[in-house]
């Protein structure tokens, strides 16, 4: 329905394409696309949550749209303010529920079967390598871990995508991030993410795609890749992508019914920037308030008193994250002066926590286990910080006032530092508690 004549360019001169270019080209019905070109592309999945869907529904109705272009390509997830934190939140979820019923959207996730969207969607087989995925949540870039082009959009975008199934994109240049070296003990995807963002800065990858490559990435688990790509937006990137490989194939083997076409970069693909990291000696990382780019080695902030540790979120919400934190706690109790809030990210992760014995361990240690929710990560509920309280979170943002009172402070870290900190009552290294 949209005129494209004025955008079509001669592309014979375009040689190598990055993963981001290839996926956008395929979805725009083109052989190739040029960096900075505007294209209209068909989307494979549209994600909305309880906090962004209601505004989109208003836009959708205002425009006179009355049906979703393909209900199977739409997923609605209750995760931000659920179980409803107050009456206003309850209205948001109700709006989404009624919209799902009206539009015949089967991928509607209700409390109890739901979970944090960015952990839920890969585990439900709703995102695949080579897909073009949009979501009205900025951390939608997470699915790049599977080799998808996946990016956050706003509510007008989502309403348009619901109605017509395609959106405009400016083809981003790609920054190649090559990582070498074996990650030391305790150090994982979160430390890698904070370290890279610390180097690039919070706008170091503005409007760009980040492609993570190199031996360290090839050896990184899918959980670690999801964490890494989740944080790409914190460098300003449109998306973070890992080329599909054996780890990806293994992950997707859980869904034998799904077909997909993996995309990898051409050998002569052109990158707008390249950065090389050697992580053989990378210390555990902590990002100080109020930016995720304020990353420093944990030793620089050790001894900082912490009132609340939050373990979970779309960034570090997999079983492996909870296991790493428990290992770092070494069977010890939560410090009497500190609270540990454990948030399993989905129903499945909750069950794994129970079956593995970790739920019992955390509870006996003095932690509280909450329901799957984004709650404390957005300062919404289940652990909001008071004036001048200090938190250490495995979440992705530590902006002013995001997690509670504007004078509260949040340090970001991975699960190993979170576990050690919960035991010590102050920021700590797991080998030194």
């Amino acid at each position: 329905m949209i005129c494209r004549d004025h955008q079509i360019k001669e592309l014979e001169t375009i040689l190598g394409q990055t993963i981001a270019q290839k996926i956008l080209a395929l979805h725009a019905g083109r052989a190739a696309v040029a960096v900075d070109e505007l294209v209209f592309a068909k989307v494979d999945m549209i994600l909305g949550t309880d906090v962004t869907v209601p505004l989109s529904v208003e836009v959708f109705r205002r425009m006179g749209a009355d049906r979703i272009f393909d209900p199977k390509k739409t997923v609605l997830v209750n995760d931000h303010f659920v179980p409803a934190k107050d009456m206003k939140a309850a209205e948001l979820s109700k709006t989404m529920r009624l919209f799902a019923e009206e539009m015949g959207i089967d991928n509607y996730y209700e409390v109890g079967r739901s979970g944090i969207c960015h952990v839920l969607l890969p585990d439900e087989g709703l995102v695949k390598p080579g897909d073009l995925i949009v979501g009205a949540d900025s951390h939608t870039c997470t699915y790049g871990a599977l080799g998808a082009f996946s990016t956050g959009i706003g509510s007008t975008d989502m309403a348009a995508a619901w109605a017509i199934g395609e959106l405009w994109f400016r083809v981003p240049g790609t920054i190649k991030i090559e990582v070498n070296g074996q990650l030391p003990k305790w150090v994982g995807g979160k430390d890698l993410a904070l370290h890279i963002i610390g180097h690039l800065g919070v706008e170091g990858a503005l409007y760009k795609a980040m492609e993570f490559t190199g031996p360290t990435i090839r050896n990184l688990s899918m959980d670690g890749r999801l964490t890494l790509c989740n944080m790409a937006i914190e460098a300003g990137a449109k998306t973070g992508i890992v080329a599909p490989d054996e780890v990806t194939r293994q992950f997707m083997s859980k869904f034998p019914e799904l077909s997909y076409t993996p995309q990898v970069a051409d050998s002569d693909a052109e990158y707008v920037e390249e950065h090389h990291f050697d992580v053989s000696d990378l210390p555990l990382q902590v990002a100080k308030p109020y930016l995720p780019s304020n990353a420093v080695p944990v030793h620089e902030v050790m001894g900082q008193q912490v009132h609340q540790v939050v373990l979970g979120s779309c960034t570090n919400g997999h079983l492996s994250d909870f296991q790493l934190a428990a290992d770092a706690m070494k069977g010890q109790k939560v410090n009497p002066k500190t609270r540990l809030i454990v948030i399993p990210s989905t129903k499945d992760v909750y069950l794994e926590l129970i079956r593995s014995g970790l739920a019992e361990y955390f509870t006996e240690a003095g932690a509280v286990i909450g329901p799957p929710t984004c709650g404390p990560c957005i300062g919404g509920h289940i652990g909001v910080l008071a004036e001048q309280e200090v938190g250490l979170y495995t979440t992705n943002r530590n902006f002013v006032g995001r997690n509670g009172h504007p004078t509260s402070l949040v340090f970001l870290a991975g699960p190993a530092v979170a576990g050690a900190t919960a035991v010590a009552g102050e920021i700590a290294h797991p080998d030194e508690i």
Partner: protein, 171 residues
């Protein structure tokens, strides 16, 4: 054909700070609000020193901001709240990627103008902005700046009054 202005002459508010995120612009505690009329009063509610902008801003005022404005979440209220206040144009050193597309889609004009926060402009100055050429002028201070003009598609969406109107106009 154009129904939205591409030329602005008005006074500015200069918010000279980088990395102002969407939680500072429109805090998550107000995300239940979906009506435009109710959004304006919460603008900059979590940005120390600027909480009173909704009371001070007048219809037609322009906003000048630093780098990476609108970083963070995808919430569109962080764009719509300025529409509610009658602020038709935001000029910044740079914008968060999602914020920029939200503004374009919602029919709010954005201009990227590297160097504007160091140009000598201060709050209260009156500037002339031509979105077709990207030229920004402040006659009183003899300042001339060059912003990046919108691309054709971005201008088309903006002039149509937003993404949906644009889609209807070309279908």
């Amino acid at each position: 054909m154009s129904i939205k202005p591409t030329h602005f002459k008005s006074r500015i508010w200069l918010v000279d700070e980088d990395n102002i995120d969407t939680d500072m612009i429109f805090h998550n505690k107000h995300l239940h609000i979906t009506k435009l009329d109710e959004m304006g009063q919460h603008t900059f509610g979590n940005l120390p020193g600027w909480e009173d902008l909704p009371q001070k801003a007048q219809d037609g005022d322009l906003l000048v901001v630093g780098g990476n404005f609108g970083a963070g979440s995808s919430r569109q209220q962080a764009v719509d709240c300025f529409t509610a206040l009658g602020i038709p144009l935001i000029i910044g050193e740079s914008f968060g990627a999602i914020y920029k597309r939200n503004a374009i889609n919602a029919g709010v004009a954005l201009a990227e103008c590297p160097g504007i926060t160091d140009s000598g402009l201060t709050s209260g100055d009156v500037i002339d902005v031509n979105m077709e050429t990207g030229e920004i002028k402040c006659d009183a201070k003899s300042i001339t700046l060059q912003a990046k003009p919108f691309s054709q598609v971005q201008m088309d969406i903006y002039q149509a009054g937003g993404l949906f109107e644009y889609g209807k106009s070309v279908s």
